[in-house]
Symmetry: C2
């Protein structure tokens, strides 16, 4: 309880709980001497306090990852090799990794008030419920509430990349493949619900219990932006195909397949592997366009940062004339 | 010859030669199918041309490292695992690594004209000669020239981290430990000769065959800047001790030793591991000062970028009261 209060004052995150007692008891139980901590950038400031608490209480030495961390696909592999146990905070496990323990950061924000509004906006009777790691443990409560208000509810089972029913990732919407009229997404941000809208072609209502906002996702604007980028890339003669060095994001086979397809179409391509994908690194390569096989979010969320068009694999197939424009889709990494 | 001309027009680097014929013949000889290329950022634009040439001539698939590369200490370990042969350009080997071939980039710039000027500036008769990878193959010519002009010449043997006699790295000046009155450094930049001046307490003349400039290194200004940073850190209560995740830069043992020393002095320290060390990553941690055990160059060359004082390990010992201010030294990674 002490740490919960402390973290909340440090981060204005009173609605999250980092479960440090569990961390300490695991360390004591395993008599671990060297501990790694990895937190998403939004929680970095808590890292020092968690480290100090662990060192004070257990006598273990703590090593904090200073690299940015974007998801469970982004486990710090140096740290994992270096320590007895690596605690990776804020994301649900994608695949089990020796000596890595995922400490999910759960929100205790009330979801009922946003659901009340979401129901008013709802047009269908068959609702698909999806969420992210922070709120996914509330989906049963959400279903209960919707059922009481006359809605049918569907919470899908994701593929092997997804830990919880109804959980969606920025790169995986398999849990949204249910027979619903529309979806309610419980969580923050536009990226995840946009993926659901594109993957399912269904209406998606965002119910954000943190900002207390309810709104509908607008996938039309997104599609117009993507079409504009694809149109620009139609004139490109040389392409960089980006491959991630983060092992749970590496899609080498896909990259090789795209390179072969491009070769058959007479285009010059270059495979470029990268850890963090940034505009300054890409600007070192004088290429007409890029295709990103790493984290799909980079292609979409960072689009405005890149001066050179960056395409998803499916969009590249459109450029190659091997996919119809109407079959544009959100990029997913399937488990 | 073709590529040499081509690269020169692309990079205005007519004085360098990338020896692509050697690369192609190694690939053919070993029947390698998957090739990695890693070049320092200054040569990144050549990567595409080299890749195309390799693919056209050998049929192998090339994967280019898109990460920044700062030295032979910074071999792309993802690429090394992924390919049959990784060609790492621009640096001399620090230690042999399976399937990594270091392709040094040698300058053919004339050194005589700068030596002529350097001799005029010289005050001693016993000259130590040092250089970097690009020019080190010219040291025998330089010695010959200096001998003809009445100077005694000393070219030192470095430790196991150093490949060539007289070669210095940004983190290793062992080849400068010779009994000379003063040094002539053949190469560009201030960092390497500054290290020689600090490591030897001798006068160092820079003879730069690329810019055709000759000047004396000013280590006094450097020392004043460092003393100012140390003075600021004297008031710090919390320190981040940075450990590099790049294996040839990792000094975990040193970091642990510093942490113990700090603990004995009642200071709070946190071990933070990082790949690229940037101000934005460090700003996520609210600490009063940092100690850098990774590449020494970051502490010195990037000092102005970091808002929080960053110390070398020896400077941290000064802060702890365990080293006298007069015994400040340039940080080295010893082989």
């Amino acid at each position: 309880m002490f740490l919960r209060a402390m973290l909340s004052s440090a981060n204005s995150m009173s609605k999250f709980d980092l479960d440090i007692d569990k961390v300490v008891s695991i360390i004591e139980e395993r008599c671990a001497k060297k501990i790694g901590l990895q937190l998403p950038s939004g929680l970095s400031r808590s890292a020092l306090k968690i480290a100090k608490k662990i060192e004070d209480l257990t006598g273990a030495t703590v090593l904090i990852s200073g690299n940015h961390c974007y998801g469970a696909c982004d486990v710090d592999e140096f740290l994992q090799r270096e320590v007895d146990i690596l605690f990776h905070f804020g994301h649900a496990e994608i695949k089990p990794i020796d000596n890595v323990i995922f400490i999910e950061v759960r929100s205790y924000a009330n979801i009922i008030s946003v659901l009340e509004h979401a129901i008013k906006m709802s047009r269908g009777s068959r609702i698909g419920l999806v969420s992210n790691t922070q709120h996914v443990h509330k989906l049963d409560d959400a279903r209960e509430y919707l059922l009481q208000h006359g809605k049918d509810c569907f919470i899908g089972k994701g593929d092997s990349r997804v830990k919880y029913d109804g959980q969606i990732l920025g790169c995986n919407f398999s849990a949204a493949r249910v027979d619903a009229d529309e979806f309610i997404y419980i969580g923050s941000g536009n990226f995840h619900p946009l993926g659901v809208a594109l993957a399912t072609s269904k209406r998606v209502i965002i119910a954000d219990p943190i900002s207390n906002e309810v709104r509908e996702i607008d996938s039309e604007t997104y599609l117009r932006q993507r079409y504009a980028i694809i149109a620009k890339a139609l004139h490109a003669k040389t392409f960089g195909i980006i491959v991630s060095t983060k092992s749970a994001q590496t899609r080498m086979e896909l990259a090789m397949k795209l390179k072969e397809k491009a070769f058959r179409n007479g285009l010059e391509t270059h495979l470029i592997s990268m850890d963090e994908i940034t505009p300054d690194k890409l600007s070192l390569f004088k290429l007409d366009a890029f295709v990103n096989t790493a984290c799909p979010r980079i292609t979409i969320d960072d689009a405005a940062l890149f001066k050179t068009p960056m395409l998803t694999p499916a969009e590249f197939e459109i450029v190659l004339g091997e996919r119809d424009w109407s079959r544009i889709k959100f990029d997913e990494i399937i488990g």
